[in-house]
């Protein structure tokens, strides 16, 4: 592939995902403001230095009856007056799409410094209504209308498809859940960091771990979360000046070394029909991962030190394990059993706790994944640090495996 200009990730900030902003009686702009101000403070950058801003958000129109969320940047600081802004949407991959857009503009040399914020306020409504809103990430009329909690059911079917093709035992899904919750306890911003969880609980099937549909129980699900995450992306030119200013070598600053982006048909059964004769259940997800590795000049996942993946359900992480190539197709269970994906294992997945443990404010997740990858590579992940991480890869998925985006953040 042609040589393209570098995009540096200078750092960022996420809000505490355990917060309930409706209980705090706050507008989502407060969340954007905290994330963006936190990112600026962390990186010692002045608001006036930002050239362009992008917001990732899934369903502000539904949760807060508010669209046009890029414009809310101007409510954060008077220095943002006139700033070019936009909002990006691709369901749960919205945050990554915003990052792709910001990165592309830096590669095209339009701008030198971009602020990307992902934001979602989800606790404005009850569980049932929220589940219905999330159904708009599927083909609503065909897959979600009138269905209680459509997404757990769709991702339950992903587990069923694995079961059909290769066999799948609940104990491995419980193992995935247990690891994510355990990692979340090490992450001071994780939503579930104080929650009670262990393997036996994830395997239990009583009132405290109720069934949500198909093979999905409460412990298999990601969370309903209020939260925002912001990162600052920069051109080589800006990064050089910034490195001098803060006194770090340019080579130590993490970059977006590769990215992948594919879309599959929106309906789950159409995806499955398409992959019937394919060794991977979701081939476009696989292509997204390998594209990012190719662009980064990394042969395969042996060159990846850790992964932040989209575990909206345990079945999606189960799928990610073989799609990343950590095992042969259909053998994801081996990585769970051998501890390869646990912190301290060969390729830790979701040291942050992921969507299950850290939380899943839909439009913020892609940005949060890149921020956590940045923390790993910069050696700033504290208690959930992967020792010596040089390259960390993300996988962010919108819908039932529909829009997939992956980034490799490394030095």
């Amino acid at each position: 592939m042609a040589q393209v200009p570098e995009v540096y990730v200078l750092g960022g900030y996420q809000t505490d995902f355990a917060r309930n902003w409706s209980k705090e009686k706050k507008h989502f702009v407060a969340m954007m403001r905290e994330a963006v101000s936190g990112a600026l403070e962390k990186t010692q950058i002045q608001p006036s230095e930002i050239d362009v801003a992008h917001t990732g958000n899934f369903a502000g129109e539904l949760y807060s009856k508010q669209g046009h969320m890029g414009a809310f940047f101007l409510e954060i600081d008077p220095a943002f007056s006139g700033l070019p802004t936009s909002r990006h949407e691709a369901a749960c991959a919205s945050g990554s799409i915003a990052l792709l857009a910001a990165g592309a503009e830096i590669e095209a040399k339009r701008y030198d410094l971009a602020c990307v914020v992902g934001v979602e306020q989800m606790k404005t409504v009850g569980a049932g209504e929220g589940g219905d809103f999330l159904g708009t990430a599927a083909w609503y009329e065909l897959e979600a209308q009138g269905v209680e909690f459509p997404f757990p059911k769709l991702f339950g079917k992903l587990g069923d498809e694995y079961d059909k093709r290769y066999g799948l035992k609940d104990e491995y899904l419980a193992g995935i859940s247990t690891i994510n919750y355990a990692n979340a306890k090490l992450n001071p911003n994780a939503q579930t960091r104080t929650w009670y969880m262990n393997y036996d609980h994830a395997m239990s099937r009583d009132e405290f771990n109720g069934n949500i549909g198909g093979r999905i129980n409460i412990s298999d699900c990601s969370q309903v979360t209020d939260g925002a995450a912001a990162v600052l992306l920069a051109s080589a030119e800006y990064a050089k000046k910034w490195a001098e200013r803060v006194g770090v070598p340019l080579e130590s600053i993490p970059r977006i070394k590769g990215w992948g982006h594919h879309t599959a048909r929106i309906r789950f059964e159409d995806k499955i029909a398409e992959s019937a004769n394919h060794e991977y259940v979701l081939p476009h997800v696989r292509a997204t991962i390998t594209d990012a590795q190719k662009r980064a000049g990394i042969a395969d996942s042996d060159g990846i030190d850790g992964i932040e993946t989209h575990d909206c359900f345990t079945t999606s992480e189960y799928m990610a394990i073989d799609h990343f190539g950590l095992t042969a197709p259909g053998e994801s269970w081996k990585a769970v059993e051998e501890g390869a994906i646990a912190l301290g294992g060969k390729t830790p997945i979701n040291p942050s706790g992921g969507l299950i443990g850290a939380g899943h404010p839909v439009g913020a997740t892609g940005v949060r994944q890149v921020l956590d990858s940045h923390k790993q590579v910069a050696g700033e992940a504290d208690k959930y640090q992967i020792d010596g991480a040089k390259n960390v890869q993300t996988l962010n998925i919108g819908g039932s495996g529909t829009t997939s985006v992956s980034f490799i953040i490394g030095t």
Binding site: D16, M32, E34, N189, Y196, A378
Partner: protein, 450 residues
């Protein structure tokens, strides 16, 4: 920069694992496991300890504690690690086998001391004994016990409910082994996910000393201004999740009395009068009013389910809807600023607000800041200890956060205007000093819009 921070992490983690390996906790006995604190703490221990024994007066009561623990953390798997028993049948054997004996019986000095005497007779010389007391003297509780008991005894004050509130006070007695204190600090931080604060063995320790001073001052003010107005004036917009008098109702008036009387009696300080229990509370308690657990305290509901509010002057309840509410435009203005995340602007509007009602709110908040900073050196080594327990334990904006968002000079002016002593830490600070230093805490979370 990066390599230096990695190196220091590696160094401290090696030290930390040495410390964690210096003792082993495989079996915890919880005394008073039928109470909320016993059951909740017991559930918490099961996250790190393979065997936890719940003891109460009867096995049925201990079983009730286990059922409560299961409900509290919403997992039946708590039972996999818990056995239950009674003081009569199981005490001596269980305590003799335990690595940690966790005392959570009723908050009465004599009762607790009886338990410690009994523990002293049967415990292993190396086992740890911890009390969850919320303010009784650790030294007094250990008086008369064996040397090995006193060496291995400390206060471990979880806040209720311990599965949700991570702020925890750690109090050493004069004979407690410093190595044990370090171990428990590390153990609770690493294995139980606690935010630990070391405090001196002073009445109410750090959190209740500062927190109940503010709560009691609000109860005093309620006599003249009424509970409804006071809870609005010192409401969530001033940096707290729950309003002060509703908090006293939730905690229970009897608990409130026990805490403030203990401080009033044993720790006369510059804010002594604000710690005196109002007479109307004592009168009403004599008639059985204890807050939410008896149906009503400052607030309640009438037979028709309509909200009612206590009038402390008459000791009678009035329909909430019949109480006139004065115009409080400054609260509305501040709330609008908090709502969009402009907390600094909000709290600067707070100190700039004028009028008698704003003055009441400013005086209480000024008192909170002044009192907190004056306790440094007495209850904690530095302000960060008080900040941590107020933030992680009470869910109140820590005093340092208030000074930071209000600004140093306006904070000093607010304290002076209230006629309260300005802490030297503020007077001596340079303009621009930031007092709060915990990057893991979102400053904005404390400032709730009204």
């Amino acid at each position: 920069m990066l390599s230096a921070s990695t190196a220091s992490t590696a160094g401290s983690s090696a030290k930390s694992s040495d410390l964690l390996n210096s003792r082993s906790i495989q079996h915890v006995v919880v005394l008073g496991a039928n109470g909320a604190m016993g059951a909740g703490s017991g559930a918490l221990f099961t996250t790190a300890v393979p065997r936890v024994t719940f003891l109460a007066r009867t096995k049925e009561k201990a079983d009730g504690g286990l059922a409560a623990a299961i409900k509290m953390v919403r997992s039946s798997t708590v039972a996999n690690r818990v056995e239950t028993g009674s003081y009569g049948a199981d005490f001596d054997r269980a305590v003799a086998e335990a690595d940690l004996i966790f005392e959570a019986v009723t908050e009465q000095l004599d009762l607790k001391r009886e338990f410690f005497e009994r523990i002293d007779k049967v415990r292993r010389p190396d086992s740890i004994v911890a009390t969850v007391t919320s303010g009784l003297s650790i030294n007094l509780l250990a008086e008369g016990r064996s040397e090995s008991f006193r060496k291995n005894f400390l206060g471990l004050h979880f806040f209720n409910p311990p599965n949700v509130i991570v702020g925890t006070e750690l109090i050493a007695g004069k004979d407690t082994d410093p190595k044990l204190v370090d171990f428990i600090d590390e153990y609770c931080t690493k294995l139980l996910g606690r935010a630990m604060v070391r405090t001196a063995d002073t009445p109410g320790f750090a959190g209740n000393r500062v927190g109940f001073k503010v709560l009691n001052e609000c109860a005093i003010l309620a006599e003249e201004h009424g509970p409804l107005l006071i809870d609005e004036l010192i409401g969530p917009y001033t940096g707290r999740a729950m309003t002060p008098l509703a908090t006293i109702d939730l905690v229970g008036w009897d608990i409130h009395r026990a805490i403030v009387e203990n401080i009033y009696e044993l720790a006369p300080d510059e804010a002594h009068e604000t710690l005196k229990l109002p007479e109307y509370m004592a009168d009403l308690m004599a008639k059985g009013v204890l807050g939410r657990k008896t149906g009503a305290g400052f607030f309640g509901k009438d037979d028709a389910g309509e909200p009612i509010v206590l009038d402390p002057k008459t000791r009678k309840y009035t329909q909430k809807s019949a109480i006139p509410r004065p115009e409080l435009p400054f609260i509305e203005e501040i709330s609008e600023l908090h709502r969009v995340g402009r907390y600094r602007d909000g709290m600067q509007a707070f100190v700039a607000a004028t009028g008698p009602y704003a003055a009441i709110a400013q005086k209480v908040i000024a008192g909170y800041i002044s009192y907190s900073f004056h306790r440094v050196g007495e209850v904690t080594d530095d302000i960060s200890g008080i900040d941590r327990i107020m933030g992680y334990g009470f869910n109140w904006a820590p005093p340092s956060i208030l000074v930071d968002v209000i600004g140093l000079k306006p904070s000093i002016q607010m304290i002076e205007k209230a006629g309260l002593p300005v802490p030297p830490a503020l007077t001596n600070a340079q303009e621009g000093t930031m007092f709060f230093r915990d990057p893991q805490v979102n400053v904005g979370k404390f400032f709730v819009a009204a």
